[in-house]
Symmetry: C2
Subunit: 139 residues, 2 copies
DNA sequence: TTTATAGATTATAATTGTTCTAAATTAGTA
DNA sequence: TACTAATTTAGAACAATTATAATCTATAAA
């Protein structure tokens, strides 16, 4: 039913209503929510859920590589259940995050790894700018 | 003498010893220091200087596009006086930042801008991983 | 050289997202 | 049904950065 939840189960974790709620919330979600947004949206249905649970669950999921943490700015972490390779556009004004499919691909850094013997785990590309809506408002 | 300082002057700002010290510290500096590191290193010579002055000066310089703010992780901002287009490798363990020259160039996002009418101001590419030294220590 | 003042610096308080803590609760098992 | 280790919870702690308000100073005019 929910891949995220199944993977938590496979990881030997207890299946709590809170974890199911968060997994369901994230499933297919392309809005790149923050912990605060998830908390706000789940509050009506789970009034007792605390931020700590949300952070714990998200951290666990990120460690298990089921979701990614996007550190696009210093204010807040955004979470993305889409683990396929894609880029993000980040609006400096409204802080919205938009997926950017990439065809051409990011340049290859194998040479850098070989030359320097530093190990690259992840290449993060962020397009920083101002979104359509915010551009219109400013006029 | 110091380009950074000259540009502050041209911007009509007052030329204080603190600003000169920070400009001198950053000149040709490829270590990507944080505000705390700058504070620590300037303290012996300027014992009364406060963090606020450092943050104010760095913010001003960033606004004037004399230096870049690197938000590679949520803990701290790193500052880079090198405004030429290059990438950064960030070590998740020791938080060191290493410059990565790029030849091939970042893919072009003009098409994305045209299609979506979002405006891209800056493309930030961060290579996240573990540096040579930290890899050796772990063994 | 003195004075005036807008801008800069300072110490400290406030802010804010995230992490920690310790007590209470609960999922899964015997 | 009872046990126990994992989980949740509320609230405290934390740390980098920003804001505040008083003091100071670089600069220009008198």
């Amino acid at each position: 039913m929910n891949k995220l939840f199944d993977r938590l189960k496979e990881g030997g974790l207890k299946l709590t209503p809170q974890r199911l709620a968060i997994a369901d919330y994230l499933k297919g979600n392309t809005s790149h929510p923050t912990a605060a947004k998830i908390y706000e949206d789940l509050k009506p249905q789970y009034p007792s859920m605390s931020m700590a649970t949300i952070y714990n669950t998200l951290s666990t999921m990120a460690e298990m590589e089921l979701i990614q943490e996007l550190r696009l700015h210093k204010e807040q972490i955004h979470y993305d259940p889409d683990m396929s390779h894609h880029l993000h556009f980040f609006c400096r004004h409204c802080h919205s995050v938009i997926d950017v499919p990439h065809k051409e691909g990011i340049p290859d850094f194998k040479e850098f790894e070989k030359k320097t013997t530093n190990r690259i785990d992840h290449v993060s590309v962020a397009l920083i700018g101002v979104c359509k809506k915010c551009l219109q408002k400013k006029q």
